[in-house]
């Protein structure tokens, strides 16, 4: 009853690991899949190895954390060997869905990356939304509707195998819908909403300085959920491609809220820190119970329920 389909890809359940959270190795991704996620998104990676920012790279705030890890990755060449190790099925024999998150600073880089990895994963998520990425990357693209259009277009064009392309967008813009429509027009098969919020900063008053070495970073966790819900709701009303909801999910009620707002599936990141790896299996059980209680036969019936 939790099964759901997104851009022709069949998920065992609508719970997906969010990009950048325990997503740097096949080992941790497989652990998450084994623990009950319907799919996983990798840490965002690009052509070259990148150490990311110096520590401190994360700091706890009320209702979540701020991070500026800085998109660390060993680069596409080495990361491909990780992708190959992601299990295609879990121990029960159910299909696992692997989504690669990639970034770059222009359409050529995105196209190159798509080409390199499309055969290794089920879907590709374009990170044009990281709020603390290096110059020209992440939100620098996704805060501009023309650049978003170009990058999505180029990425779509680069696929030879129909691997669905998802654009992950940032809420930190004046007009999200304009950007979402750009992505849709450029051929995105789905959009993921939202990447981390703000950016935010925490100053330690005893140290007298911002805590993160990058000074600011993206906010995630329960506190950002209302923003994510608004984004999903608005995009559902204004766009025609499926939406993957993400931001602050920590229990089944949150998942239902995202589905009701218009998400076809959801991603979970920061709450793993609070709730542990078994958050996926816990939510699955309770979600099934909720669906039975409320006479829902499928996830589909719940999508956009609150927009009616």
């Amino acid at each position: 009853m939790l099964k759901t389909e997104l851009c022709g890809i069949k998920f065992q359940n609508p719970l997906i690991l969010a990009a950048g959270v325990m997503g740097s190795t096949a080992s941790s991704l497989n652990w998450i899949l084994e623990s009950g996620a319907g799919g996983v998104v990798t840490k965002s990676f690009s052509i070259n190895p990148n150490k990311g920012y110096k520590n401190p790279t994360t700091v706890a705030v009320k209702g979540g954390i701020i991070n500026a890890i800085g998109l660390s990755s060993p680069g596409v060449k080495k990361f491909k060997s990780e992708l190959k190790l992601i299990n295609k099925k879990n121990m029960n024999g159910d299909e696992n869905i692997a989504i690669a998150s990639i970034y770059g600073s222009n359409s050529d880089e995105f196209a190159y990356m798509v080409n390199e990895i499309e055969s290794l994963v089920d879907m590709i998520e374009l990170n044009v939304s990281c709020p603390h990425a290096m110059t020209g990357c992440g939100a620098a693209i996704g805060q501009d509707s023309d650049l978003t259009y170009e990058v999505v277009k180029a990425s779509k064009k680069a696929t030879s195998s129909n691997t669905p392309i998802i654009a992950k967008l940032t809420p930190n813009v004046t007009d999200l819908i304009q950007i979402a429509k750009s992505a849709e027009k450029a051929g995105a098969d789905a959009i993921t909403l939202i990447n981390s919020v703000g950016p935010g900063m925490k100053i330690d008053i005893n140290a007298g300085t911002p805590i993160l070495s990058n000074k600011f970073g993206g906010m995630s966790g329960p506190a950002i959920k209302p923003i994510a819900i608004r984004c999903v709701y608005d995009a559902y009303t204004n766009c025609n491609i499926p939406i993957i909801g993400v931001g602050g999910i920590s229990n089944y009620e949150d998942v239902v809220e995202f589905l009701y707002a218009g998400a076809s599936a959801v991603q979970i990141g920061t709450s793993i820190m609070y709730e542990g790896i078994d958050i996926f299996s816990k939510i699955k059980d309770k979600l099934k119970f909720f669906m039975k209680e409320n006479d829902f036969k499928s996830i589909d019936e719940m999508i956009g329920y609150a927009n009616k």
């Binding site: 190795t25 096949a26 941790s28 990311g52 890890i69 300085t209 920061t270 709730e275």
Partner: protein
């Protein structure tokens, strides 16, 4: 939210002990309250906000509940640790934690325990030994390259543990590696369990020894850390995916067997594998 995520406390260095030429212990006042009472084997993240504005993990080497103090013991090996060594009493550091699982110290009383520490790996081992104190019978193998680098051997002797020093160059105690010293000990003695921390290749050697003899053991591992909160995935190990900062840094011999990269490679800041 189940887990408490401790934020920084900016703490004054209350005392600095020069243990060896390259190793110093730093002592801080530490409020011992729920969620922040450390156990041996746990670590803290140390933020040098004045220096390089960097932050790295350090094992807790001293837990003094009575006087509400903790200590860390730092070996100078690079830029960050060198800057720490330049600090003086009264200087401040940001400390968050404690993190990680720590040694499993349940049902540890009246056991014959072998504790093995190599180099600055003695930090959690000394902490464990002081913590358990007279409750058990502890033999400590205290290993280093040379005499001047031997850590905590005197302090622990005071603590009624039996100390077996060994140096690569024979300048103090047994001449040779910790593995050799251990083989030697195991000839004459039997143990209920062991705790081990040191360079990974040393631990690998010890692991094989103890497995052969079926002595249950706990090993404290190190991996590159960023968040230390179990979110970034930087410290995950192959093939289990476990996070050194949450499921570790201490693993039982049973679990360690599943960590295939143990003794083979670790990952650097960008996630590239580096072989041992």
């Amino acid at each position: 939210m189940n887990k408490i995520i401790n934020n920084y406390e900016i703490l004054e260095i209350k005392k600095i002990i020069s243990e060896t030429d390259t190793i110093k212990t730093f002592i801080f006042n530490w409020e011992m309250k729920e969620g922040r009472i450390p156990i041996p084997g746990q670590f803290v993240m140390v933020w040098n906000f004045l220096g390089k504005n960097d932050e790295k993990p350090m094992s807790i080497s001293i837990i003094d509940r009575e006087n509400s103090k903790i200590g860390i013991t730092v070996k100078k090996i690079g830029d960050f640790t060198e800057k720490l060594h330049n600090l003086s009493v009264g200087d401040k550091l940001g400390i968050r934690g404690p993190y990680g699982n720590g040694f499993n110290i349940e049902n540890i009383e009246n056991k014959k325990i072998l504790a093995i520490g190599g180099g600055v790996g003695m930090a959690p081992i000394a902490c464990f030994t002081s913590y358990i104190g007279q409750k058990s019978n502890i033999d400590v193998v205290c290993a280093s390259i040379t005499k001047d680098e031997l850590l905590f051997s005197e302090k622990l002797e005071d603590n009624s543990a039996n100390i077996f020093t060994c140096t690569d160059d024979g300048t103090c105690g047994f001449e040779g590696y910790a593995t050799h010293r251990t083989i030697d000990l195991l000839k004459s003695k039997s143990y209920d369990m062991a705790v081990v921390c040191g360079p990974e290749l040393m631990m690998k050697g010890i692991f094989e020894l103890l497995e052969d003899r079926e002595i249950p053991a706990q090993y404290s591992m190190e991996r590159y850390m960023k968040c230390a909160m179990g979110i970034c995935g930087q410290c995950c190990v192959d093939n289990t995916g476990w996070r050194i900062c949450v499921e570790g840094p201490v693993f039982s011999n049973k679990d360690l067997k599943k960590i295939e990269e143990f003794g083979k490679y670790h990952r650097n800041a960008s996630g590239e594998k580096e072989l041992y």
